[in-house]
Amino acid sequence: MQYGSWFGGLLGGDLGESLITGRPVAEAIGPRVLNSLSLAAISLAIMLPLSLVLGVAAAYLRDRAFDRGFLGLSMALNATPEFVTGTLLISLLATNVLRLVPPVSVIPPGDLPWWHPEALVLPVTTLVLGGSMYLSRLVRISYIDVLSSEYIEMARLKGLSTARVLFRHALPNALGPAIPAAMLVAAFVVGGVVVVETLYGYPGMGSAVVDAARDRDVPKLQALIMLIAAIYFVLNLVADLIPGRQRVRRGRG
């Protein structure tokens, strides 16, 4: 019964009232959602081009010092939980070594996140470090496959420049498998905001989930989890729908 009325309200846009403040849930989480989406969007805007460049560079310099260093670093970062990477970043950039940015991300209510770039540095860096290591490894593997194919050999034999071969000829085919992976990374960022926002006290959906779970504020928790699951689900769906297909251009050689 309760679930039915809650679900009915959800469809109509009514998320119920918070048990703690008594105010409508939608009003309380609206700004939080905006803050989190901004954080995720900025992180992805940095992460995607960075992963592409790192992955291409490592594939091109395969088995050289750069590639080995890249693989070692990505393995280490992959094994490190985000709260650990984040704590190390706080130590490095905000407390023990340098004091460039504040260790806590304060965004006063009513302000938009990008008015406070100093508050975004640490959360964005933490998310970018986690996500780009996974994605750039996929780009690297995909590029190694493409670079060893016949048509790239042909382009090289024709004497085309390295940059032209890497970006004009290899890029379209190497991106095929990488695009669904990028969507999965976007989904990973949506999940990752929970830990990262809590670590830096960033006022977003993730820290709201942790607060609501602590306060046992069930209506708020339900609304937030539904929202995060919905975003995550849509991104996973897009990742499944984009086929990782290989195209070989034919025609003029």
Binding site: T80, T198, V210, A212, I225
Partner: protein, 292 residues
């Protein structure tokens, strides 16, 4: 089946396989890291110089004061004792969750690949449903309703990790279904359970070993993160994830209170990751593919 028959059939190939794996530098380093982390977690509780739950000195006492080699934590408890005592939970919970997810994922993936058709579609769509929730959010939901019970944490992590294993196992097993030995098995009327567990399973052990290493790393990450968020092991108890969370405010005055547990979490997780990486590389090499 007599017990002696198995080793004589298995031995030569298995021994050569083991030696091949042991030559991989990643695998050796991974095993070394894992041994260090496990040794600290297992032996640590018996070696604590102080009671890990009793305050010895002032808050964030510097290293060396009051006989505390690594200093004190937020309420003056001995950091060294808490680090030594704080790995037990992670030590049994993470491997148990990883093993359960690999076992369940292998069973589901093999069943889906072997039977195909409607069973395959249903099982894999079910896996997609579980995958549709970010693991941490999924765990927070249930933990906030039922409470932070250790068995619940293990169960949630195992369930969240199963679909990934099932996908990999199904993908590895599908091409095997058209192999001659499977068709021979079907033709001579072997029972499907015998065919699955005795004939097909041995051919997917290497990918399963890789999955076990990867899932161990992820299980450690999730369980430590949940402790950090306050939804795993509960604060008075010593735990590496909890320590990072409760001593964060002392990061600038007593960094060791945060770094000591961090080092152990990373050693543990990196060990699992390196073992997976090492096995994957040896596999790729033995299949004649390029080493990546």
């Amino acid at each position: 089946m007599s017990t002696t028959a198995v080793p004589t059939v298995m031995a030569p190939g298995a021994v050569r396989g083991m030696r091949r794996y042991l030559r991989s530098p990643q695998l050796r380093l991974g095993c070394a890291l894992l041994v260090v982390a496990v040794a600290v977690a297992v032996l640590g509780p018996f070696l604590t110089p102080f009671d890990p739950s009793v305050s010895i000195g002032p808050a964030y006492a510097p290293p060396g004061s009051d006989g505390m080699a690594l200093g004190g934590d937020q309420i003056g408890r001995d950091v060294l004792s808490r680090v030594l005592a704080g790995g037990v939970h992670l030590l049994w919970m993470a491997p148990l969750a990883a093993l359960s997810s690999v076992a369940a994922g292998a069973a589901l993936g093999l069943t889906a690949a072997f039977h195909g058709g409607i069973a395959d579609v249903l099982l894999m769509r079910l896996m997609d449903v579980v995958l549709a929730f970010p693991t941490i959010v999924f765990a927070l939901l249930f933990v906030s309703i039922i409470g932070p019970q250790p068995w619940l944490l293990v169960l949630l992590v195992a369930v969240a990790l199963t679909p990934g294993v099932a996908r990999v196992v199904r993908g590895t097993a599908l091409p095997l279904m058209s192999r001659e030995y499977v068709q021979w098995g079907r033709a001579v009327g072997l029972s499907s359970s015998r065919l699955l567990w005795r004939e097909i399973l041995p051919n997917v052990t290497s990918p399963l070993a890789v999955e076990l290493g990867v899932r161990l790393m992820i299980a450690i990450n999730i369980l430590a993160s949940l402790s950090f968020l306050g939804y795993g092991i509960q604060p008075p108890a010593p735990d590496w994830g909890v320590m990072v969370s409760e001593n964060r405010n002392g990061l600038s005055s007593q960094p060791l209170s945060v770094f000591a547990p961090i080092v152990l979490i990373v050693l543990f997780a990196a060990g699992g990751n390196l073992i997976a990486e090492g096995i994957a590389r040896v596999m790729a090499r033995s299949e004649g593919k390029d080493e990546r």
